[in-house]
Amino acid sequence: MDWSPLILTFKLALITTLLLLVISIPLAYWLAYTKSRIKPVIETLVSMPLVLPPTVLGFYMLIAFSPSNAFGNWLDEWFGLRFVFSFEGLVLASIFYSLPFMVHPIQSGFNNLSTSLKDAAYVMGKSKFTTLFKVLLPNIRPSLLTGIILAFAHTIGEFGVVLMIGGNISGKTKVASIAIYDEVETLNYDVANMYSLILFGITFMILLFVYLVNGGYLKRFWQ
């Protein structure tokens, strides 16, 4: 069995999750506290991947980043970035695709936190930055964990968007979900079964871990 699709899948999920964390904390903070009128529009855009068929997202990204188009050409010439049929393209597509899974838990974490915590820190002379990192984020750890795990697990499971923008290049863009499809098409049910079992097992363990931690079961066990 070729292990590269599985390794590629977890590499993609890891990089996507880390980048998403960096993007989602400021975005979720803004969404939780802003009084701006464009908030509903941004919220809608963030949530779109939840309802939009992944192929739609993949299709438009394919069009936008194609080197035969102005924008794709410009990216290629100026930055040497080619998002079509490349690993970078998969990362970018996954970030869009898994964005709501990271932003929503963090945003609701901020919303559920009493505003007086933030106010108390400000009155003590703490900057917004210090308040965010010393007061707000440490108190929404369960939401952060949920966001990280959901984004990670969801990236493992994506198929349509990856197929559209990444294609099926072995070792480069062929992730596990696509490899399974590939093997089934060529009637290699044994290999497809192996990939599937491994994905099933790992995602089960990941989600179980979240529920154990957020439910406080692990703490009780250690004490």
Binding site: S116, D119, V123, G125, P138, N139
Partner: protein
């Protein structure tokens, strides 16, 4: 001295309300804001602390402008030298009691004062506990100490004791009075409790629907200047029983229950739940020592 002039249009559950207040607070005084919920007390607090902006207003503290909407001056809450005790304590759950205090102090500063505060409000045994494991009264002591760490000029307490029972409330009132005097603070308190107001405050501002309806010495504001008795006890009517021509009225004063007789005319104005004063002029009290 603190001079305040504020105007703000507020949207509340009962429709729009115009907050429109002008008042002054003398340095070193303990002033209470009093009024029904929704009268605008907490809004005034938030504006004073810089957590909310008024439509128009001026706040001048010891000749320094904290806010002047005309000149576009608005000192951020971080720079306003205020100690704020929130109604729901607002202790940081991720930090221990001592960490809460040290966080307020900031990095690389002498923690001698923190130790002193821990002594004053008796937090010695609780220092290394997380806020979630503390009782309401303990949390409030931590919140009080934390508000004082940065040696504020003004201490603001938003209904700090409303959720506590009578004895703990009494004790905390003593703590607040002690730090108010010891650190020479100007203290502003929001309170609903009449006995607390009379016991603690030098000056009372009564609000209703965003406007100041009365201000002055607490006893005068609360009694409308009608009574000049030698004995005055403040309480709340618990029950009224009609017995032929008179009413027996049961009044809760502090934690004691007293029964008072009133005639039919007097009792017409009274209802269960009313705040009342029991006063007497020709009265000869006898004192017994309790062993």
């Amino acid at each position: 001295m603190i001079s305040v002039l504020l105007q703000k249009r507020l949207k509340s559950a009962s429709g729009d309300m115009q907050l429109d207040v002008v008042f002054e607070i003398q340095k070193g005084q303990l002033v209470t804001l009093y009024g029904k919920s929704g009268a605008g007390k907490t809004t005034i607090f938030r504006i004073l602390a810089g957590l909310l902006n008024p439509d128009q207003g001026k706040i001048i503290v010891n000749d320094i402008f904290w806010l002047d909407t005309e000149k576009k001056i608005n000192v951020p809450p971080q720079k306003r030298k205020i100690g704020f005790v929130f109604q729901e304590y607002a202790l940081f759950p991720n930090m221990t009691v001592l960490e809460n205090l040290n966080f307020a102090l900031g990095k690389n500063k002498d923690d001698g004062f923190v130790k002193e505060l821990v002594e004053i409000v008796d937090l010695g045994d609780l220092q290394f506990r997380k806020p979630d494991t503390l009782s309401g009264g303990q949390k409030q002591r931590v919140a009080l100490a934390r508000a004082l760490v940065q040696k504020p000029e003004i201490l603001m307490l938003d209904e700090p004791l409303s959720a506590l029972d009578f004895e703990i409330r009494n004790k905390l009132q003593q703590y607040i009075l002690q730090v108010h005097r010891e650190f020479n603070l100007t203290t502003i308190l929001i309170s609903h409790d009449i006995s607390e107001i009379i016991k603690m405050s030098d000056y009372l501002i009564e609000l209703d629907h965003g406007k100041i309806i009365k201000q002055g010495l607490p006893t005068k504001v609360l009694t409308h200047n009608k009574v000049s008795g030698k004995f005055q006890l403040h309480g709340e009517i618990l029950a009224m029983v009609n017995q032929d021509f008179i009413f027996i009225i049961t009044v809760l004063i502090g934690k004691e229950i007293i029964k008072v007789v009133a005639d039919a005319d007097e009792s017409k104005k009274l209802n269960i739940g009313d705040k009342v004063i029991i006063a007497s002029k020709a009265f000869n009290p006898i004192i017994y020592k309790i062993d």
